[in-house]
């Protein structure tokens, strides 16, 4: 079935069509479950003035931090940007625009973008800077603010296994923002550790159905650990 084979042979083809000024939605939490190779490809291509939507922005020398360092990012929509010096410097210098968004609201905005819901009410952020200028409404005595959906020109995600039709399964907590990101891109590109044949994944256990995935590529992941904490056995 050539019709649903989403596998592309190169990173170059995986990110074909990316242009300056586009909005890129990225999966991942910290450095966990980030599409490392797709990010590195964006760095290689050098596309700039990007708006990046991602919970975090990597670290100085890894993940989305690479694009920060390379000054390819114009605006970031994220919930947490700590532990990144390059980022702090660009913010102080005013060369980057930051839209801090609560983590749950960010996840829900991506989901809404993929699900045809242009806006929803949430209690998160009411009465704070996040709620400023947003519509307020009371339901059952509690105040909520109206938040709008996010969609992107590209969504880039990282999965564990993917079949040729683009069905994806995530590993452990590397799932995080990836399923929602995958639904919200006009073009969604998935980087997987292993490509399997259709039918190998249990249909009821697929996290991201292939309908959301336009391109699939196998990539070796470094999977860097941000905070290595252990106990003695």
């Amino acid at each position: 079935m050539a019709g649903f084979d989403k596998v592309v042979p190169s990173l170059n083809e995986a990110m074909a069509g990316i242009e300056n000024g586009m909005t890129i939605i990225a999966g991942g939490f910290g450095l966990c479950g980030i599409p490392e190779n797709l990010i590195a490809e964006i760095q290689r291509v050098g596309t700039h003035s990007l708006t990046v939507v991602s919970n975090n922005c990597g670290v100085d020398d890894f993940g989305l931090g690479l694009l920060l360092k390379n000054q390819q990012i114009k605006k970031i929509i994220a919930s947490y940007v700590g532990e990144n010096r390059t980022f702090e410097q660009q913010m102080i210098a005013g060369t980057i625009d930051v839209e801090l968004t609560p983590q749950g609201t960010l996840a829900e905005k991506m989901r809404a973008g993929g699900a045809g819901i242009p806006a929803f009410f949430t209690a998160t952020g009411y009465g704070t800077a996040v709620g400023e200028g947003k519509e307020i409404r009371e339901y059952n005595g509690k105040n909520y603010i109206l938040e709008e959906a996010i969609t992107g020109d590209f969504a880039i995600v990282k999965a564990w296994k993917g079949d040729r039709y683009g069905n994806l399964v995530y590993r452990h907590t590397a799932q995080n923002f990836n399923p929602m990101a995958a639904t919200a891109g006009r073009i969604t590109v998935a980087e997987v550790e292993e490509i399997v044949e259709p039918g190998e994944l249990d249909p009821t256990q697929i996290h991201t159905p292939g309908i959301y995935v336009d391109r699939l590529i196998q990539g070796n992941a470094e999977k860097r650990i941000e905070q290595r904490l252990t106990r003695t056995a």
């Binding site: 994220a78 009465g127 799932q175």
Partner: protein, 218 residues
């Protein structure tokens, strides 16, 4: 003598209930996980998608794909579940978490909390904190009663950007356990060897001192 971080965690742990789902913030709240009474089962949620957080891994168990909301390596207990960020925050925002324990920079008598930003100094972002304070029915704030320079963190009105409004009712500091009612702090317990005068001096917001203020048992 002010409570240690461990003592503060132990005081919070006294509020744990058998069979409850609990979200712990970074810092002192994290220590609460070590203080669960033996006769009790509590399940910890990490907002990056893990319900049923286990201990840190052994060297052999370390897995880059298994982290907690503090981005540290972690394990999962038997009977845990792992979901997407949207589904994880649906638990939080939908009010399904029984207890949330958070750190803060400031709390005021209106129950407002400031915890994510010090303008001009520190911008890390709110992460999941705004969702947690907006979604939880039962929140404990743990923080030192005053800053290192002696400035009260229990205020008439927060001066830093707010994380949430009107959502905090219970605070454990290194000096006291307080509740917020009718726009006042109420001193419920004090740390051993801490005088009520000292607590009054370090509490900027209006403080009610009931006739009986028991000494914290930690």
């Amino acid at each position: 003598m002010p409570l240690t971080r461990e003592q503060m965690a132990r005081r919070v742990a006294q509020e744990l209930k058998d069979g409850s789902y609990v979200n712990l913030g970074i810092g002192i709240p994290t220590l609460v996980a070590n203080c669960v009474p033996d006769n009790m089962d509590v399940m910890f949620q990490s907002e990056n998608g893990l319900l049923g957080v286990g201990p840190y891994p052994t060297e052999e168990e370390v897995d880059a794909d298994m982290i907690n909301a503090g981005k540290a390596t972690v394990t999962a207990i038997a009977g845990s579940s792992i979901v997407s960020s949207a589904d994880s925050f649906a638990m939080i925002r939908g009010g399904h978490i029984d207890l949330t324990v958070l750190g803060a920079f400031q709390v005021d008598v209106m129950g407002n909390i400031a915890s994510y930003m010090i303008p001009g100094k520190k911008v890390k972002g709110m992460g999941g904190a705004m969702d947690l304070v907006a979604g939880a029915n039962n929140i404990f704030v743990t923080m030192t009663h005053a800053s290192a320079s002696g400035q009260s963190k229990l205020l008439a009105e927060c001066t830093l950007p707010l994380t949430g409004v009107g959502c905090i009712k219970k605070i454990v500091t290194d000096l006291a356990y307080l509740e917020i009612q009718d726009k006042k702090f109420i001193l419920r317990e004090r740390a051993a060897d801490t005088s009520i005068d000292e607590i009054i001096a370090l509490t900027e917001g209006e403080l009610i001192v009931p006739e009986v203020v028991k000494v914290m048992d930690v």
